[in-house]
Amino acid sequence: MRYISMSIVAFAIWLLWSGHYTFDHTLILILGILSCGFVVYLVSRLDIVDEEGIQINLARHLIVYIPWLLWAIFKANIDVAKRILNPKLPIAPRIVRVKGTQKTDLCRVIFANSITLTPGTVSLDLDEEEIVVHALTEEAADDVQSGDMDHRVTTLEQ
């Protein structure tokens, strides 16, 4: 069942990007269908399709989360750019450990990726409970340790 929905999604994406909506070039359409089938066959051999699928709930929360994340990225970018351009502003690299309270793997990955996406903090390692974060400045380290982002990602699960 999952493989069927996956082939449908793959063919929809192929149709969107190729731009062949009519039956003018039937051969190309057939080749597209064949290539989608081949890709699904390869994926089934790799055995990497998991049980999780796409959650509708998550998409609803993401609408709130993504603009906040973009704004955080914007602020952090300006800060790091200033520190690179001006040698007088100090940098103080440090390694901190941040607790992640997420339960599902998907939300843990979203949290770690959000940390890395924000300049000034990079997630180096993650295990079941903690994420090892390298922070460029003290402010960035305090920011990620305050738990604001962690809290926001955790609300994605509800």
């Binding site: 690179i84 940098i91 990726n113 890395t116 300049p119 180096l124």
Partner: protein, 110 residues
């Protein structure tokens, strides 16, 4: 029409300047772990602003859809590869340059 043009040029030029700042950071920051932050600037806001400027030029067409897809894939893959490089360096035991917490805020880089 002219306003959209001006907006697009501002986005393009700002994006290029941010990219150059990121490249400069890659050169002059003191150690590997700090350099990852310099690379992060070009991957997020630099690339985002350049692609946004191109979107203004493209208008509401197929071109913009492709630009949005490029941006989304870039924002999904670039932290993953940065994390992979960082994790490989961390587990292989590369020592980070850490500031002494006793006199924090005082050390100059370079």
């Amino acid at each position: 029409m002219i306003i959209i043009d001006i907006l697009s040029w501002i986005c393009l030029i700002l994006g290029c300047i941010l990219c150059m700042i990121g490249g400069l950071g890659l050169l002059r920051l003191p150690d590997f772990y700090s350099r990852m932050h310099g690379g992060g600037i070009t991957d997020t806001l630099g690339a985002g602003l350049v692609l946004l400027g191109l979107m203004f030029q493209g208008g509401l067409t197929m071109v913009t859809v492709k630009l949005v897809m490029i941006l989304v894939i870039l924002l999904l893959t670039s932290p993953t590869s940065t994390h992979a490089v960082g994790k490989a360096a961390f587990t292989s035991g590369l020592k980070p340059f850490l500031s002494d917490p006793a006199n924090k805020g005082k050390n100059e880089h370079d």
